[in-house]
Structure formats: C-alpha cells, structure tokens
Amino acid sequence: MSITYVDAILEAQDHLLREDPRVFLYGQDISRFGGAFKATKGLAEAYPGRVLDSPISEDAMIGMAIGAALAGMRPVVEMQFADFSSIAFNQIVNHAGTHFYRTGMPVPITVRLPSGGTPGSGPFHSQSMEAIYSHYPGLVVVTPATVSDAYHMLLQSVALDDPVVYCEHKFLYRWLKASSIDREAPPLGQARITRPGKHATIVAYSAMVHEAVRAADRLKVESGWEIEVVDLRTVKPLDMDTVLASVARTGRLLALGEAFPWGGVTAEVVARVASEGFHLLDAPPKRFNSRDTPVPYHPNLWAAHRPTPETICLAMRELLAF
C-alpha cells in the first residue's frame, strides 16, 4: 500500500472536514467533480454543503474566504492552478496579509496553489509563485516536498491563525509516493535536513528537494562527495537556524529553486547566509534557478528551463572545486 502526495492532500482535507466544523473548501470544480487534480475527490459527498464550487472569480474566492474566516470559519481555497492566483493577488496580499497588523484580528485562510512545472504545462500552468507572496508582510508561505509534509503541513496551515499560502507541487502529485504518512511532522517554519552531508549544502524546497537529492546521490557515487540537502519546508518565514547550522558544517552553499531567477527564495537565502553567516562560507555561495523567461511549453525546452540533476551536478562541481 502506498500513498501519493496528492492523496495526502486529499486525506488532510478529509481529516480537517471531519474534525473541525469550521473548515470548508471553496474552489473551481472541487465539489462533485473533485477538482482538476482530484485533490477533493469524494469530499463533497462525504461532507454535504461544505465543499463548494466557486465561479471563475479568483478575486472573489479569496474575498469570500477572508470574510468567512473573520466570521469564525477556516476556509481552504483551491486555486485551479497557482498561476491563476495572480487574479487574487490583491485580496491575498492587501486584504488577508494586512488584516492582523491593521485590526488585530487575524485571517485564518489557507490558499492551496497547485504549483510548478510539468512537461507540456507551459507558461500559465507552471508557475512557482512563493516569492510573490513571501515578499508581502503577513503571509506564511509553505512548500511541502514530501508526502507526509503535504499532509501535516496542510493541517498545520489550517490550524494557524494567520493566512497561509500552501504551495503544492503538481509534479509530485502522483509521482511522489510513500508507504505511509508519518505520525508527526515538524512545525511550520522549521526546515529539515533531508540528506546529511559534510562537503556542501544544497538548500531547496518543494520538488527541487528531490532533484537536489538525486544530484547529491550522483555526486556521492561518482566522486564521493557528501552533500547535505536542506528542505526549507516553509519559505516565509525562513528557518535560518537550520540553514546556517548546515552551512557551518559544510562551508559551501547552493540555493536551489524552480522559480524565476530575479529575487525569490534563492536570493533571500543567499543574501541572509552571506550577511548572517559570512564567516561560515569557504566558497562563494551559489544560486541556481529556472531561466528568466516564461516557462516554455515543449518538454525539451522545459527540461532545459529548470534545474535538473545534471545541471545541479554541474553547479555543485563548480562550487566544490572552489
């Protein structure tokens, strides 16, 4: 028996609906249809009236969730694709994100963003938008990379009084499997050492954690390098303690992300390690992102647009050679 990443998301929502009467789900085609990715399959039938199809109105979807949260509910909103949350950008950053600071009343909404590229998904069904939401104050932004994290971090997101942008990676949906879900998980805001090592640290999150591990395995087999992989898990706020402790051990840093290169998580990680842990670094810290173009449609281009184990290995060899 095994459980996939998207199953874990479904399970978590099932658990939430079962245990917490404040929870309801809102999104396009999530009710009887079960969602574009089947992350809500069967829930409409199991919890009548609590899994609601929304119109194609991302701005209103988040506005509705904010109002419901203020009235005591714990809404979970599914964006059909992360990319369409651009329409809800204002409600997320300016309404949900500012509310606690302004009024003292928090807005416990969870916005699920099916994120990241898959072959053939193209410029508008592939984006990784964590940097956009992390830039604005007041939003917690999480990026689960494992089946267990997909499950537990969704529960934790809904339990949090603050608005959470939950970035789930579409590539992991069915590809990533686990034999079971761990009983427990670290709290939100805490990173994890996915693979211990001593010669260099790769800081990654979401699907790139797996590419990093693959690259690390290869570097081990091919050249005996022991690469540590840190999974950030939450990108806002960042767990710099774990990152700095890792860099302290290894002296070398590659920050790896699937998002566009300007700004974003890798810039934040490198900038903070450079300023807070400068003396820990034995080599210039490196960054590796996707390219600075829209995410291309054709699988050939897509594979060359984002970091892969091969290109990560190249970057790591440069880092290790320094």
Binding site: F24, G49, R50, S54, P55, S57, E58, D59, A60, M61, I62, G63, M64, A65, I66, G67, A68, A69, L70, A71, G72, M73, P75, I87, N90, Q91, N94, H95, G97, T98, H99, F100, Y101, R102, T103, G104, M105, P106, P137, G138, V140, L160, D161, D162, P187, L188, G189, Q190, T234, K236, P237, L238, D239, M240, D241, E268, R272
Partner: protein, 340 residues
C-alpha cells in the same frame, strides 16, 4: 448608538426617521470638524467626507442590527457608520492617529473598523469588500446562523467598474446571500464623470444581469432613502437574496478635503442632485410632524458638544510610539523566525 436595530422593525416611522437624522447630524458635525482640523494641519494624510451622502448612508446603517449584521462601509459612509453604532471617538482617534483608536495609528482616516463587531475595516482597493461581506454571510450559513441576518456594503459609481465588484456581487448572487449593495452614484469618481465610467443608462440596469433585485432612489430625499433602505434590507433579511440599491446624488465637497471639486459643473450643483440631504431631511422631519424645529436645534447643540468632546479627547491621546510598536504582521510569531 448601541440601541440594537432589532428594534428598527419595531420602530415607528417617526422613531426611525428621528434616529437616522440624528446619525446624519452626528456624521455631518463630525466631518465638518475633521475638515477644519485638516485645514489647520492637525490631520496627516487626507480627510474624505460623505457630505451630501448622509441620508443614503445613515438610512442603510440604521436598518442593520449591530451584533448581528455585518457592514462594510466605504469612503463616504460616516452616516452609516454612526447609525450602525460607531463611536465618535473611534473616528476621531483614527483620523488623529491615536495609539488608542481601533487602528492604533497603523492605519488612518476611513480605513478603520471593528471587525469583531461586524464592522469591517476597508482596504483602499475599491470593490474588495463586496466578496468579503459575502464570505461572512456564507460562513453564517455554514454555521447555521444566517437566519434573520444581512450583510451590507456601500460602493461608488466609479467602483462599479472594478472586477472585484463584479466578481463579488456575482458570487453572492450565486449563493443567494442576504447581501445589500448600495451604490451611491454621486456622478463622479474623483474627477471622472459617469460618462467616462460606464455606458449604461442607469447603473440599476446592472441588477438584472446579476440576478439581484434593484432599487432606485433619490439620495437627497431623506424619506425616500429611509423607505427604500428599509425595504431592501428587509427583503434580504427575509431571504430574498442580494439586493442592489442605486442612489442618485452629488458629493457636496471634494474627493478629499485637498480637492476643490472645480470639475463639478455649477449646473449640477444648482440642480436637484445638488440639494443638501440634511436640509431636505430637516424639512421633512418638521413637515411630517416627526420633530420640531426647536428640537433639531437642540440636537445640533447636543451632538455638536459630543463631537467636540471626542475630538478634544482624541487630541490628548498618546501617539503611537515606534519603540513600543510590535513590528509583527503575524498573530502567531512562534511560527518561526522573523526576517527583520
């Protein structure tokens, strides 16, 4: 004014009219003072008045039940805020940046509310509150507590052009929520006249397209406003789904007190829409025998003193202290580190 408006249904027309007029008067007197304080350099940022819109706004606010209903006022809704129960001091403190107001100096002027009491704190982005009120109502349905309650929000002619307004009203209509949207068509959005804002003959023509019931009202006519708002709110409360009221009127001042509104043609100011609803209301109260002239003068004095006292108090309040400020946008900072 914490009399619960459950009573509204029980109030006689006379009582209702008197109540609303007093709220209008409080709003007008308060805003007049705010304008003076602004011109004296005592208020930073801007001052945005609802002068001329008090009848529309207060009659809506008066139909809502504090503690039960939810209300999202917009820029020109001092009347509605007051009628819904906002204390003068909340307004004064917010404009004056007091550390003790509901926004504690973090936000200012019209961007205030008491969401825990059902009065939302608007963000500037026009239209954004429509879906939020709808969401609050949806929550109450899910909680089994929707029966007998309504949500209301106000919006200007200009803000009907926002996607947020459209998406919010449509979503509310799909859920058939008891939402009352009052469009104050004051002919201008800042300087932009209706004919650069929309091409329909009357914004009321939009109601049918959302599947909501529409009402038209002369916003300068106090008694008409009372009647229409009462009807629209009651219809929503009865389960009639969203209601849209379009009021025709004129903003009797600038967009903000920095603006002389010289773009408003004299003909409009002198025409029927240019009437001051306060004067109309006073006349109607007397004419209907709802109040005596002398009583109105007494109210003016009584409320004027109250306003004066609140503004004086707010000016003595401590200002926010950056050293004691909690620079924290999360309610649960234990989530992790803070990126200082």
């Amino acid at each position: 004014m914490p009399d619960t408006a459950e009573s509204i249904e029980l109030l006689t027309d006379r009582e209702h009219a008197r109540k609303v007029y007093r709220a209008m008067l409080e709003a007008r007197l308060l805003e007049t003072k705010l304008s003076s304080l602004y011109k004296a350099g005592k208020i930073v940022g801007g001052v945005y008045l609802g002068k001329g819109q008090e009848a529309v706004s207060a009659s809506l606010g008066s139909c809502l039940i504090p503690g039960t209903d939810v209300f999202a006022p917009l820029i020109r809704d001092q009347g509605g805020r007051t009628a819904f129960g906002e204390e003068v001091i909340d307004c004064a403190r917010t404009y004056l940046g007091s550390a003790e107001g509901p926004m504690r100096g973090r936000d200012g002027n019209i961007h205030r509310g008491r969401p825990e009491r059902g009065m939302l704190a608007m963000i500037s982005h026009l239209g954004a509150a429509v879906s939020v009120v709808a969401g609050w109502l949806l929550a109450r349905r899910l909680q089994g507590r929707l029966e007998g309650m309504v949500g209301a929000t106000c919006i200007g002619d200009g803000a009907t052009s926002t996607g947020a307004f459209h998406e919010g009203l449509n979503a509310a209509a799909v859920e058939r929520l008891p939402l009352v949207v009052v469009v104050a068509n004051n002919q201008f959005a800042y300087s932009t006249p209706n004919d650069r804002q929309f091409a329909c003959e009357d914004l009321l023509d939009r109601a049918k397209g959302y599947g909501v019931r529409g009402y038209s009202v002369d916003g300068t006519d106090f008694l008409a406003c009372l009647r229409v708002m009462r009807e629209a709110v009651a219809e929503a409360r009865r389960g009639g789904g969203p209601q849209m009221v379009v009021a025709r009127l004129l903003r009797l001042t600038g967009h903000g007190e920095h603006d002389d509104a010289s773009y408003v043609p004299e003909s409009l100011k002198c025409g029927a829409l240019g009437q001051d609803c306060m004067a109309v209301a006073a006349g109607q109260l007397v004419e209907e025998g709802y109040a005596e002239e002398a009583e109105l003068a007494e109210w003016q004095e009584e409320i004027g003193e109250k306003v004066q006292a609140a503004l004086a108090a707010a000016q003595r309040d401590p200002k926010p202290d950056p050293w004691r400020e909690q620079w924290e946008a999360f309610s649960m900072p234990q989530t992790g580190d803070q990126n200082a």
